[in-house]
Amino acid sequence: MPRTHALRTQVQCTVNGDEVDFLCADETSLLNALRDELGLTGVKEGCGTGDCGACTILVDGKVNCACLMFAPEAEGSSILTVEGIAQGDELHPLQQTFLEGAALQCGVCTPGFLVAAKALLDENSDPTETEIRYALAGNLCRCTGYDKIIRAVQEAAVQLNGASK
């Protein structure tokens, strides 16, 4: 029987510390591959056009919208999603301060905010309020008005700095 569609491409990369491989069509977005092929549904789709940040992931340590990358572009890279932020059953300080500070309501934008905020704190351990607001300006939240999110990131920075001293 003749083939009716193109065979899929195999992609190999590291996701949340684990070596993985998956098959995808060349035009598949990395977002769809993470969700549909790897079951990482913590990576959310809010717009599909890179405007809302709900699918924010780190690719080799850099903030990216998974919806703006083709899945084959992930070949050989190291990806971090919200599912990989906690160390085992120990939450990252950001996860803890988001919980304690009520920095989420519906929670659909929360994974993207956590990843973007982690990227900020990885690079800048003591950001100003303005620096936090600009670092998170690519992430839309419609529930909180951002107030408690900003405070949760400030509190996590304090905790991380306290732990490193």
Partner: protein, 743 residues
Amino acid sequence: MTVTENPRTYKYVGTRPVRHDGLDKVTGKARFAADLDMTGQLRAALVRSPHAHARIVSIDASKAEAMPGVKAVVTGADFADLDPTHPEFDMAVNLMARGEALYNGHVVAAVAAVTAAQAAAAAAAVEVDYEPLPAVLTIDEAIAKGAPIANTTNRTLFSGDAEPSNLASVNEFGRGDIEAGFEAADIIIEREFRTAAVHQGYIEPHACVADCGQDGKAVIWASSQGHFAVRSKTAAALGWSTDRIKVIPAEIGGGFGGKTTIYLEPVAVLLSQKAARPVKLVMSREEVLRATGPAPATKITAKIGATNDGEITTLQSTMYFDNGSTKGFSALTGAMSVASYKLPNLELHAIGTVTNTARSAAYRAPSAPQAAFAVETLIDELAQRLGVDPIDLRLQNAVVEGDATAMGMPHPKIGFVETLEAIKNSDHYNSPVPEGAGRGVATGFWFNIGEQSSATVNLNEDGTATVVTGSPDIGGSRASMALMAAEELGLAVDRITPIVADTESVGFTDITEGSRATFATGMAVVNACRELIEELKQRAATIKSADVERVEWVDGAAVIEGEDRLTIPEITAMAKNTGGPLTATASLNAAGAGPSFAVHVADVAVDEETGETTILRYTAAQDAGTAIHPSYVEGQIQGGSVQGIGWALNEEYIYDSNGVMENAGFLDYRMPVASDLPMIDAIIVEVPNPSHPYGVRGVGETGIVPPIPTLANAIAAATGVRMTSLPMSPPRLLAAITGGADG
């Protein structure tokens, strides 16, 4: 922060525990509807009208059906044929056109295929022959003499008129003598206001999965504000009985009123039935913006009169609210929201229009923000003309218990005066206005609703508890349910698991809307707990062979004759021998919803070269009645404030001359981001609602009402320009400043 003394203090109510569903939401485990996949599942895609108004001459799906992977196609012919007077007629026609496409983006057919890409390709191959019809796109076009009819099934509500019309409803009410009111006035101010349609902007697009079995029954996993409503609306659209449908609530990624109606579920069920496989249907963001939700565009004229002593003598207003493609109640609720001041003479005409634009949906205090823009701007001008403090002028005219609402009924116990005083006494209001900036204040009112709720409280064998309700949790209400149950039972809040159960596992519960979940469903939880406590006392009496009359419930334990004590775990451990499982259920139609008032103050700076408004400081006070979980009350106040800020400064639907939305994406439909904003200081006022066991009023909606006039008044103070149309975006504000004209 919380001001005013709540007369009662509680052990759990008013504390800030970590929400029970929080861990799943910070680790990515929480499952929203689009995160669910079923074995053998198909993906679906929708075919949407490219015309704002057109007759559907024919639909030919034969090419689509022959494409790889395609398993089912449905069109309007597959759905129940409802009479236009059926209460779900407009909802049903909106989710699948019948004979006419009523707006650009109206669904005309749907396709299910093995992959999403196959479904999209097949949807594009469905051939629809349209005969374009004249389209009506704005309020002015709808009410023009000789205008084409936008939707021939529309009859004006409350009119008894049998002819098709572009008026959805005409509501008129008032009191006193409007002319005498103006004659008694020393100052009269009249203006016309316009606002564009805006979207609720929830980050999660609409999504569902449906699985229709061989037995003709369907299971639906849905993201909604009310899964019982998903069931009843799906049943109506399909002509099914409700017992054929089970709806399982997924986590909901924001609703704000926009997920009180449905768009997808009946379509997914029919596709699943035809294909005999589960079907997943997820909207794109563009679809969400083009074809769901917008809050009505408005045109409002308002005229106010007051004496030189500051007594408002009269208010007269004509308000047009555009419902989009079908009738609705937006005009009525807009008029009902004019209820904050003693108005001896009042005349309101509230008119809903029908146009060939997307069918509007509820948005947080529906229609009140637009009405408040008009009324609160005029009050601000009055204060300015009279040379009095804008809060003092409002205090002088503020309604108190017993004063008339817009429709004439008296206000119950309310906290408007206390909320005004909270801002008047705030650090913000008592700090100097920054150099070059302007300060504005405004107020908002929402009546809130009760409606039907059910709750079951189960005590487990080890003395932990499960609180089961049917209210989808859109902002932390599960934590509130657990806190009220903890207070009643005297059980630590982390020993209680609050869940939202499916339509077959808990009693009927109305939609999470009208700020009702913590109020009404909370009352059902409290009632179930109180019934459970009576049973616990009986069990304790049995265990101790005591008279139940001598048993009291104190701090989580039965106390027998003032000494012997039996805790919940001790009683549940013996449940088998004392009468069986410990469970109680309560259901109610809650009366006595408590109106909530809000007062906001903002300092803004306007860049006179770009027209950009920067908010320097923002403080919002709101009467919560009693704050069950203060962090989530603050969250409602802050979130509502920022939605209102977006509405005021940037958000708007922009249509081209063919009725095509030109900014159907988050890049061009510009919602506020973190760098646009300062902190939002939330002040919780507590004037308990006497109709609720803990004094809850409901806090979800009122926070969105004051921001538009607050910012308009602040911009006026900063620039001297009164903006009367929204949004007050940089180009419009710049034109108003440089041209001296209204925006």
